[in-house]
């Protein structure tokens, strides 16, 4: 059987661990689990799923009944979903839930069924779960045609066709773009190709890295202390492997949560024996001359010896195939409206092209309508639902994607969760618990209102802060509450990174004089 836990919703009640201790395990509040438990565990898993206080455990065929539509629903026709991972799979399920009975085609570059990625940097790397045991449950039958292992190479918006790598063309009435991201590779190709150099994004990467870690390397070098890099470092320490983490910023998790929480994360890493080098970059990966990695040269002039290196420098959006589509596509994603409809180069909203997941760049009203792209599990799920609903609904019944971003990470035994946009902040204050105990709530504010909250092993309080964000409640919090005490130090500067300005991938050029002929075109750099 297949299990997936919506850890966006999980509050750490641990009921699943009590009732199916062979399947679910917990360290403090960090939940890890077997996604494909053996059939003899079925009754235990059913008990665990039924008992979850927030109903975050999903099994095969546990979706609710079809939704009663408020308006006219597109029942027939052809829908194509490009990208057969979490967002694509969930969108397909929602299309059927909404009553779409027409033809549905799923196009994906990986072979096999959609699987869950968050475990790849956690329980898969520790060896608790084999990489091929991460398939997502089928919440409902989607009755789709699967074209997997064949990447899409182009989109003809006017002709309503998707072009595939093998030359085939697939026509559609509506299309959903959900091609996600891939790991950013080490820029020097020869160095990137050295034996011992890894990236981590898909199940094959995870299998390879697992083998490398299980072989007991003398030292693992991790480039980048974002979530993926930090989680891999955590696994290395759990496996008792020496690990060096090199981070360009002043602290781990800096680019997502700023320097205040970053300092707490740095303490956590060092406590667990990580050799953490901040404000440092790797300038060169070194080899033994026979194609094997031996270490790296650092920007401070030093070197690190290592036989495994993981390049965890973020991700690249899989949007190159859309380059000539006429849509507003850049390294930042595919621009869309809050209803997930893609925007074309001219800034006009299209009717039949929708975007969801890691590549969707959408305006969020809570954050001054800034366009944002969220590479979170929870965003893929909620945005896929909005996109799928809107794909089959009429204009009057479309939904805006307004959910407040939530994401989580488990590392060094701590369950880290975040709600809102922590980098959208000028100040931060610890409101509950204590950073020294690695158990706290930190609240972020921007110009006097709450914009985000981060918890370390305090997930039960997150929902409260989500409501405060939604209500634009004042910052800093000025009320009496439980759990004050150790952390009651008042707000401090959030030390978040400067907001990045999109670098020039292509230049926008406007041509024509008459309003009827004025159009945008892109000039790509050579």
């Amino acid at each position: 059987m297949r299990v997936v836990v919506d850890l966006t919703r999980c509050q750490g009640y641990g009921q699943c661990v009590f009732l199916a201790p062979d399947v679910f395990t917990m360290r403090d509040e960090a939940l890890l689990y077997d996604l494909q438990p053996a059939d003899e565990r079925r009754e235990h898993v059913l008990r665990a799923a039924a008992a979850c206080p927030v109903q975050a455990i999903h099994l095969d065929r546990t979706a609710g009944p079809p939704r009663e539509a408020d308006g006219e629903v597109m029942k027939d026709g052809r829908i194509v979903i490009v990208g057969a991972s979490l967002a694509g799979a969930r969108a397909a399920e929602v299309l059927r839930r909404e009553g779409f009975a027409g033809s549905l085609t799923m196009i994906g570059d990986e072979r096999g069924e959609p699987y869950d990625r968050p475990p790849l940097s956690k329980q898969v790397l520790t060896g608790q779960v084999p990489p091929e045991h991460t398939l997502l449950p089928r919440l409902r039958e989607i009755d789709a045609e699967w074209l997997c292992g064949t990447p899409a190479t182009g989109l003809d918006v006017a002709g309503k066709r998707v072009r595939l790598a093998d030359g085939r063309e697939v026509g559609f009435d509506r299309v959903l773009l959900a091609t996600g991201t891939r790991a950013r590779r080490w820029p020097d190709e020869a160095q990137a190709a050295l034996e011992g150099v890894h990236t981590l994004r898909d199940a094959r990467d995870a299998a390879g890295l697992r083998r490398a870690l299980a072989a007991g390397p003398r030292r693992v070098l991790i480039l980048g202390a974002g979530f993926t890099g930090s989680e891999i470092a955590s696994v290395c320490r759990e496996l008792d492997l020496p690990v060096t983490v090199v981070e360009r910023g002043p602290a781990p998790l800096y680019s997502a949560m700023g320097g205040v929480i970053g300092d707490v994360a740095a303490g956590l890493q060092r406590e667990h024996g990580v050799d953490l080098r901040c404000d440092t970059t790797v300038t060169e990966l070194l080899s033994d001359g026979a194609g094997r990695l031996t270490g790296a040269r650092l920007s401070d002039g030093g070197t690190v010896e290592a036989d495994v290196a993981v390049v965890a420098l973020g991700s690249v959006r899989n949007v190159e195939w859309l380059r000539d589509s006429g849509l507003a596509v850049s390294a930042w994603g595919v621009t869309c409206d809050a209803g997930c409809r893609a925007v074309d180069l001219n800034g006009l909203v299209t009717d039949d092209v929708f975007v969801a997941g890691d590549i969707a760049r959408f305006p969020h009203p809570l954050y001054e309508y800034q366009f944002m792209t969220l590479e979170h599990w929870g965003n893929a799920v909620s945005q896929a639902e909005i996109a799928a609903h809107n794909m089959v609904s009429d204009q009057a019944h479309r939904w805006p994607h307004l959910s407040v971003p939530v994401f989580w990470s488990s590392q060094f035994g701590v369950n880290i969760k975040s709600v809102g946009v922590p980098t959208f902040a000028d100040q931060v204050v610890f409101t509950q618990g204590s950073p020294e105990e690695r158990r706290f709530v930190a609240v972020y504010g921007y110009k006097g209102r709450i914009t985000a909250a981060v918890t370390f092993d305090q997930a039960m309080w997150l929902e409260f802060y989500q409501h405060r964000i939604e209500q634009a409640a004042p910052f800093p919090p000025d009320y009496r509450h439980v759990g004050m005490g150790a952390a009651d130090g008042g707000p401090v500067p959030a030390r978040v990174p400067e907001r990045l300005v999109p670098s020039a991938g292509a230049t926008v050029v406007v041509t024509g004089h008459d309003p009827a002929e004025r159009r945008v075109s892109l000039v790509h750099p050579r």
């Binding site: 009921q15 661990v17 009732l19 201790p21 039960m460 309080w461 929902e463 439980v482 005490g485």
Partner: protein, 401 residues
């Protein structure tokens, strides 16, 4: 009479649910005694997770604070003290340190259920409360804690007394607090003796664990061990009894449920969740306090006010769940307030769930042609921990184990 008074009136105990619609019409309602009663699902969930809500009655404004227990157990404390004590107790009961404790008790639950039901054989009438629903959880909590079962007559009466003093409303609070204090002092004395004995000669039980554990985060003082033990002993056998009895009552009122459960025994898993929603053993959470002014559903609860959460009304809120007054055996995605929520979520929830699944499953499977003798049955007086005092059932026979 106010809606709440009608609900609390013992005459209405058999069906408080008929009043809940009226109650929910004002999601947050000020009562005559200054209590704010909250009855809708969303608002209850929000307050369960609201750090401005305290569980420590010493935070009440005015004289009421003086009536509060000066040394509450963790159910009456807030973080970080609550988290410290609950964590120390959880070490010996559940994850992350003892994830298998409850699952390991399952064979014992089954063998207890088997022998209790075996004893019903050879006759055609039994009281499910006295003969099954009460003895099973008591035996389990005694074994878990390490309390000798033969002392049960002694602590049973005391535990009943404590439970009867729990309840919403501040009018007769002083009197009830006195009665509760007296009974729990007596229980503390009894458990204090056991705790001392376990300190001298530890065994493999939870009491021994609480007494002896000293970790980096410290341990419990003797007083903390005793107050925790009193809490767990009472909570461990005054609540599950109602879950089991309410369950049997609900099934017997709808024989088609019995047929479905016999045909598919796995259905007992969702059935127990639906029972927790539909006939929850704990109907109210009556000990919360607003630490600051809290505006919710258009009403401002002033700082220092007592807050009562009508969990049973919230779990039947039509704004949260479809056909709330229908018992749906396999209700999908059943999110209910049966065990509360937030940091005070029922400590023993997994124990209660498993006990109810095991014993109700066995009763359904083994009792032939069971039927109610009296409907409604007589109820225990408490409106908070609500359940039948007796549940007399006629049956044709008992199938072998």
């Amino acid at each position: 009479m106010s809606v709440l008074k009608r609900i609390l009136d013992p005459a209405g105990r058999a069906d408080p649910y008929r009043f809940f619609g009226e109650l929910r019409a004002s999601p947050v309602a000020l009562q005559e005694d200054g209590t704010y009663l909250v009855s809708t699902y969303r608002e209850i969930v929000a307050l369960l997770h609201d750090p401005r809500i305290s569980s420590d009655r010493r935070n009440l404004k005015g004289d009421a604070a003086r009536l509060a227990d000066p040394e509450p157990s963790f159910i009456g404390l807030d973080p970080p003290e609550h988290d410290r004590l609950r964590g120390l107790a959880m070490r010996h009961f559940g994850p992350p340190h003892s994830p298998e404790t409850v699952e390991r008790l399952r064979p014992k639950m089954l063998s207890l259920a088997t022998s209790l039901i075996d004893a019903l054989d050879g006759r055609t009438r039994a009281d499910i409360v006295d003969e099954v629903a009460y003895p099973l959880p008591v035996a389990v909590i005694c074994a878990l804690l390490g309390v000798p079962e033969e002392d049960e007559p002694h602590f049973h009466a005391l535990a009943d007394e404590v439970v009867e003093t729990l309840g919403p409303g501040e009018e007769d609070r002083a009197e009830r607090e006195r009665a509760r204090r007296a009974a729990s002092l007596e229980l503390s004395r009894y458990l204090g003796g056991l705790v001392e004995a376990r300190g001298r000669e530890p065994r493999g039980d939870l009491l021994s664990g609480l007494v002896t554990y000293r970790g980096p985060e410290g341990g419990m003082t003797a007083e903390e061990v005793v107050s925790t033990a009193v809490l767990l002993l009472i909570a461990g056998h005054e609540t599950t009894i109602n879950l089991i009895a309410n369950g049997m009552l609900t099934f017997l009122r709808r024989p088609e449920l019995l047929d479905r459960l016999r045909a598919d025994p796995h259905l007992i898993i969702p059935a127990v969740e639906e029972l927790l929603r539909y006939e929850p053993p704990v109907q109210f959470v009556s000990s919360r306090v607003a630490l600051d002014d809290i505006t919710i559903a258009g009403t401002t609860i002033p700082a220092g006010s007592p807050v009562v959460l009508a969990m049973a009304a919230g779990s039947r809120d039509p704004g949260h769940v479809a056909s709330p007054d229908e018992f749906v055996l396999d209700r999908p995605r059943n999110e209910h307030l049966g065990f509360g929520g937030g940091v005070h979520y029922c400590f023993g929830a997994p124990l209660a769930r498993l006990e109810a699944q095991v014993v109700l499953g066995e009763l359904v499977r083994r009792l032939r042609g069971p039927r109610l003798v009296a409907d409604p049955p007589p109820y225990r007086p408490s409106a908070v921990l609500r359940g039948p005092r007796h549940l007399v059932v006629d049956y044709d026979g008992v199938a072998p184990a």
